[in-house]
């Protein structure tokens, strides 16, 4: 069970949090201008790295704020929270 450092509340058990997947995927400013391929890339394609991963979490059963963590997907070590 991960120990996640909520930037607002401090370290809490993973069970208080929700996971939001890969971070830094910006919604395209003008979706209509995209090809189907480009839209599919935004919708579905993921880096899914083996190693460091920037990912979104929400302190669901706490302050309900979203934030970004950097975590190693092999060791599960959390290296950075913003």
């Amino acid at each position: 069970m991960l120990l996640i450092n909520c930037p607002w509340c401090g370290p809490r058990d993973e069970s208080e949090f929700g996971y939001g997947g890969e971070a830094d995927i910006a919604r395209p400013a003008n979706p209509d201008a995209l090809t189907d391929e480009e839209w599919a890339d935004y919708l579905f394609m993921r880096k899914n790295p083996r190693g460091l991963h920037r990912e979104q979490w929400v302190h669901e059963h706490g302050c309900r704020r979203w934030f970004v963590l950097e975590r190693d997907t092999v060791t599960y070590e959390i290296t950075d929270a913003t």
């Binding site: 991960l2 395209p28 929400v58 979203w66």
Partner: protein, 1003 residues
Amino acid sequence: MQPDRLSTGGRIDRSLPLTFRFNGRTCQGYAGDTLASALLANGIRVVGRSFKYHRPRGIMAIGADEPNAIVQLGTGAATIPGLRATEVELYDGLVATTARGWPGLKFDLLSVNEFFSPLLSAGFYYKTFMAPGFLWRWYEHGFRHASGLGISPRETDPDSYEHYNAHCDVLVAGGGPAGLMAALAAAKSGARVIIADEQGEMGGSLLSDGATLNGNPAGVWLGKALDELQRCPEVIILPRSTVSGYYDHNFLTILERCRDHPNQRDAEGVRQRLWRVRAGRVILAQGSHERPLVFPDNDRPGVMLASALSGYIRRYGVCPGRRAVIFANNDGAYLTALDLVQVGASVSAIIDCREYGAGAVAEPLREAGVDIYQGYIVTGASGRNGVRSVQVVPVSADAGAVKSGRKIIHCDLLAISGGWNPAVHLHSQAGGRIHWDDVRSCFIPGAPRQDHVSVGACNGSFSLDACLEEGKQAGQEAARACGFEPAPFSTPEVGRERPGEAHPLQPLWRVPLPRSPRRHPKQFIDYQNDTTVADVYQAVQEGYRNVEHVKRYTALGFGTDQGKLGNINGMAVLAECLGKPVAEVGTTTFRPPYTAVSFGACAGAAVGDLYDPVRKTALHDWHEAAGAEFEVVGQWLRPWYYPRAGEGLDEAVARECLAARRSLAIMDASTLGKIEVQGPDAATFLERIYTHNIARIETGRCAYGIMLGEDGMVMDDGVMARLGGQHYYLTTTTGGAARVLGWLEQWLQTEWPELKVYLTSVTERWSTIALVGPDSRKLLQGMESDIDFNREDFPFMSVRSGSLAGFATRIFRVSFSGELAYEINVESDFAPALWQTLMAAGQQYGITPYGTESMHVLRAEKGFIIVGQDTDGSVTPLDLGLTWLLSRDKDYLGKRSLARPDCRRPDRKQLVGLLCEEGPEALPEGAQLVEQPGGEPPVAKLGHVTSSYYSACLGHPIALALVSAGRARKDDVIHAALRNGRCVRARIVSPVFHDPEGERQRA
């Protein structure tokens, strides 16, 4: 009564005799015994039967590594399967049986398997029973019934369990000398310490060690140390508590057995407690396990680990034999010989594979006249139900080849020792690697990966001095790491009643034999699973060379001791087969738990009534009193229908629906999700969320809205209302309330943080009472209110706030039934009072409460969808015919996806109505639709029935369905394929069956 009980010694209480039953036989033991020590005291040698060959087996070990003595404890609902007798503390009235062996342990019919054992070689079951195929189930039935070590209870567990969350600075796993020193060192600094030990009594090896500490027997220091720990307010001492799992981020589980023993404290409380500990630092001090030696027939009852034998003698005052032979490759086992001599048993011989023999420890034994065979090994043991003699032969200096000179030595007890394996389990679970140490011939922990350190025997430091010193250092360092200043204190001085200097161990993974190991009697590596040296040889010969393949092919290490006893020997034998050093064969993963944990303890309190919270509306009591039947909707319980005397579902629903259509009905709609959206950018935000135009909606007006996922599929729907300039209110489906709020928050916070918008869930603040039917306006107009309910002043799809019969309300003129209707929001505390007021006032109109079933019928008659029933995550708004809701002037979530080719396919499944052309029965919901009856599978499917009801208002059944290209096929007749093989004709119609112009809801 207890033939093998010594007259003195041990930590048992001879003044407290206990009576217990084992396989129907009444026996006596003493307080402080384990079931294993009591069985041995009673002279019981055969305690189990092995897995494959059903060989008689005796007690081998003294702890968690015991493979043979597996018992079923107790009877009835409280029975516990699969316990190791070595871990069961004896109590008065204990009843234990063994599940294996039929008709009995002493005579087991399936021991005939041994006769066929050449046929039952490693992996034999992969090679036969293949034809004819249908017979496999029959063979399998036989296998299944021959397997299994215990019998599951058949009744609900009478006990309860709990989880206990704890934080500490230092967690110490293991209460032996190293662990106690670590705990003391950390505790003296003021750190919060938890120390857990699996046994009923803390102390570990100190409980049976002959050494002195500070000039006194070890027990004296132990008592003082425990006293001192107990006086520290920040220390929690947990006996009978196994640190079972080491998970990520220093999260560990401890299984505390609170009430498995009737004399235990907490007798009224839970049976077991699972501690969920987040520790600052972890000190692992779990000790080590002695290795057996591998030689032909090394599983005879009476063959026992040397340390286990010492433990039984010293701790329990039991000596399970009169004439012992010791077989070892190290000095430690000589201490067992000394123990035997001390209690008056005869030691027939010590067989030491080392040509150079033991160090000083051998001297007193020589003086006592014990024969010591240096450079000898045991190559056989006789005695089916108890060892009677051993065969010994000399070996070469490297212990690699036998020489001539066979001897037979009679004995009734054979103590064996092949060295020690540090218990690196938790270290490995924590992600730490382990390394082979050639000097000590064992795996020792490598660098830790989390905040932990191994000390004492589990770190490969086997001497008592080292255990104490390492424990102290680790305790102080851990405290320092947690911000505490360690207080100085001294390590107790280890004195020995026996000489120290030891000769090194000589690795002996299996004894050398004159011929191939496959041509000698079985040499067991994994006792419980009957894995032999021959099995490993065969596996390698067949190409199963990776240690994991060998394990899985031979079942090595898959017993309930999880390989604690045999795995390292097995790996070394594998290394020998492969001609590689042990270090290169590698080890397998140590998986949690360290020892088995009951399902109940893992589940904790969240079972039965507490499995999942039940959500009830503020009006629940009224519904219950009115005799409602309830439907489970997510976590909610909702009134399903309100049967009157003699009514079933169908009759009640027909009555409720007719009331709504003809006069007046009332429903509790409080479970609808409700979210308030406020702030200067609220409209901008909602424009991006909803598919329709928000800007056009004026204050006081409502609109139906749908939300799409970014994939264009309908995610949720509901009503959105503008309560003020920057103040919106929206409803969601009952099941979608939390999901939608989370979804909105995610977009707001992660994608559009610049928007000034605030979201608040008000689901439970407001209760919603739907007042439905042509008489609803009359009823409201007849009540005291500052709201004008006139058609013109309060039109369809608008909202008003005001008082109603003295209650502050928000009233939405929306309709999920197609009738003139009002949804009244009132603060939940007042909901029962308002409900009753409405019920009383509605008497004159025959006001009728209705539940979810009637709600479904009423909305289906109007073609209104239920997200999750008429949609399934693959349905777009275009499929539902909701094109009018899709704004062309703006972007919204999911819009781009609707332009993908697949979403534009003309043959997509579309929402239609269906009228059954045959009979008065409603089509089954979920029924598949096909063009024509019959046809060879796979039959092309047109879609399926999503909703289907008998409409009392229309006098016939109606259905909603998703049908391929359905909107263009109005009046076509297709078929519903029923499960009984029948096909029923159904005509495609508009999904709006009732009041297609919508005049009634706008009335």
